[in-house]
């Protein structure tokens, strides 16, 4: 019996007409749909090498709207297909971090004790060590790749959620609806997941949206630096690293993957801002 469920009370989402919501949805939805249907749009996976057409400028040939890369592959196709990596990494790592962070945050806020100490000390370390440095060390050691990158992002980011959830639990656990649930003998796990959780999801969802955006930036930086996914797989960061060599002669190879990152992250940031204004007016999720 969640008294004031922020997630499912859609009357709170009244500001659907805001510019932020519309722009964010158009950007994220458009890019998401294009990536989802990329294998149907471009059956050859953007890997059709065509050396005769190499480095064709944008609009110069009707088949290649955004031009071709040094191997004559379609830049538009590769940008759309490359989005899959970024969206996957961004979304899965945020999801993993949310789940781990919520569990740890609930336990640490509700029970205190050893979990609480672990969460707070992790938070100290996280604050002191920029992710990119941690990532360089670990990827230099264990290697890049999709799974390693997702794990690394989860490990470095769950603490944010745990801190947020912990704070909310601390402020909620002395409220009447929790005390009465305890009094009638509701089991602890039901109090945690059915009574507390729905009441603190709002700020968590806001943070997750912004986190997906941030993870996409981190993934593309790492891949750009040669520490992320395999350069053979088309990805935005990888294409930018490749295109840099041809900056003097073929600007389009490095401009369009960057535009794709910018628009995706901007869309997510717009949605995050809109969600924050709607779900979290007191501003518990700041950055």
């Amino acid at each position: 019996m969640s008294v004031n469920s922020l997630l499912f009370n859609f009357s709170k989402l009244r500001r659907f007409k805001s510019l932020e919501f519309i722009m964010g949805t158009v950007l994220v939805g458009g890019i998401g749909l294009a990536v989802l249907f990329s294998s149907w749009l471009f059956p050859d996976g953007g890997s059709g090498v065509n050396l005769a057409m190499r480095l064709t400028p944008p609009l110069a040939d009707g088949n290649f709207l955004l031009g071709t890369d040094p191997l004559g592959r379609d830049v538009l196709a590769r940008v759309i297909i490359g989005g899959e990596i970024s969206l996957k990494v961004g979304f899965y790592s945020a999801l993993g971090a949310v789940v781990l962070g919520i569990v740890m945050g609930l336990l640490s806020g509700y029970y205190g004790g050893i979990v609480d100490i672990i969460v707070m000390r992790f938070a100290d370390v996280q604050l002191a060590l920029p992710f990119i440095l941690l990532a360089i060390t670990f990827i230099a050691v264990i290697g890049g790749g999709l799974t390693n990158m997702i794990i690394l992002l989860i490990v470095s980011q769950w603490v944010q959620y745990a801190r947020l959830v912990r704070g909310s639990v601390l402020s909620l656990k002395d409220r009447e609806f929790i005390l009465s649930a305890q009094a009638i003998g509701v089991r602890d796990w039901r109090i945690l997941f059915q009574h507390l959780l729905p009441n603190l999801l709002g700020p968590v969802i806001v943070l997750m949206t912004l986190n997906v955006a941030n993870n996409i930036l981190l993934e593309s930086s790492l891949t750009f630096l040669g520490l992320g996914v395999d350069p053979v797989i088309p990805s935005w960061g990888g294409m930018l690293a490749e295109g840099r060599t041809y900056l003097q002669t073929a600007w389009w190879v490095s401009v369009f993957p960057g535009v794709a990152i910018l628009l995706t992250v901007l869309g997510l940031n717009l949605l995050g801002d809109w969600l924050r204004d709607t779900l979290d007016p007191t501003g518990r999720t700041t950055r």
Binding site: L133, Q248, S254, L262, L266
Partner: protein
């Protein structure tokens, strides 16, 4: 205050130990440094490898090696590079000033831009200057830093041939790297200044100042901004870690002879003592700055000491 200081120092020490432990442990996972050192040295016997291990202290247990590393850290000895055997502290010492110079230049640009923009946005809350500043800062937040760097090179070096595309020679070479980080940092800071300023403007002493008939600019920049400065300095201090992380990436694009370039060269060459040294020094820097900011805050605001 003494208790607060003690607790805060203890916390910083804990973080330092945790960070160095994580980094040393990760680096130990890479395999045998003796084998890596011996690469390309022709035929190597197991006895040779054993001698290398002994010389490097690698036959000691992990904890002993780690304590040696900590001891070295306090005496400024970070070990030797696998490549050519140069002291790591010497390499780091050469690269650190370049990174710090870039960090301060970016911080300067961002403060110079974000304070007037943030104040303007707060004062005209909800009206068009606020909306424009808000949207531009959101776009700025969404830029991948390395791509912004590449775009600057494309525009300023390749198209207009105004600035050198890479390296650190003369003041012109500072402009693009510092502007890249400065712009991205400004996007965050404008939002911080705006929020802090909005809160301050609601307070009673601002109303009093206005009622006294002080001019708008005196109220804003002398009364309000001065009271915003404590939270803002804290935010700026906390950003330092993220700033250094970003600089590490941007250095790569501009071939800037700083710690980032040193770290990536070390990764490419599997030169782990250098990588360990760079990361330890950077973390030490960030931990000290966070500590200083917290202590300064504790001095200024007694409420912080109690929590």
């Amino acid at each position: 205050m003494a208790k607060f200081l003690f607790y805060r120092l203890l916390q910083a020490l804990f973080v330092l130990v945790a960070v160095t432990l994580i980094v040393s442990f990760a680096i130990r996972l890479t395999g045998d440094p003796a084998v890596m050192l011996a690469q390309g040295a022709g035929s190597i016997t197991e006895a040779d490898l054993e001698r290398i291990r002994e010389a490097l202290g690698l036959n000691q247990p992990f904890l002993v090696q780690y304590l040696d590393f900590l001891k070295g850290l306090f005496t400024g000895d970070l070990g030797r590079s696998f490549m050519g055997g140069t002291q790591v502290s010497e390499l780091v010492g050469r690269a650190l000033p370049a990174t710090l110079a870039l960090a301060f230049a970016s911080l300067f640009i961002s403060i110079a831009l974000s304070i007037p923009l943030g104040v303007k946005a707060a004062v005209s809350r909800g009206r068009w200057p606020d909306q424009v500043i808000r949207i531009i800062s959101l776009i700025g937040l969404s830029f991948p830093n390395f791509w912004l760097a590449i775009m600057m090179v494309l525009l300023m070096s390749i198209t207009f041939n105004l600035l050198p595309p890479s390296g650190m020679e003369g003041w012109q070479s500072f402009i693009m790297p510092a502007a890249t980080m400065g712009i991205i940092l400004t996007a965050t800071n404008v939002r911080l200044v705006r929020t802090t300023m909005l809160e301050t403007l609601r307070s009673q002493y601002i109303m009093v100042a206005r009622a006294k008939g002080l001019s708008n600019s005196v109220v804003l920049y002398k009364h309000a901004l001065r009271n915003c400065s404590i939270p803002l300095i804290t935010y700026f201090g906390l950003q330092f870690g993220g700033l250094l992380g970003g600089i590490v990436v941007v250095e790569r694009v501009f071939n800037w002879p700083g710690l980032g370039t040193l770290a990536f060269d070390a990764v490419a060459a599997r030169d782990y003592p250098v990588l360990q040294g760079v990361i330890t020094v950077l973390s030490l820097l960030i931990i000290s700055i966070n500590l200083l900011v917290d202590i300064a805050y504790g001095f200024v605001d007694p409420r912080v000491r109690k929590s």
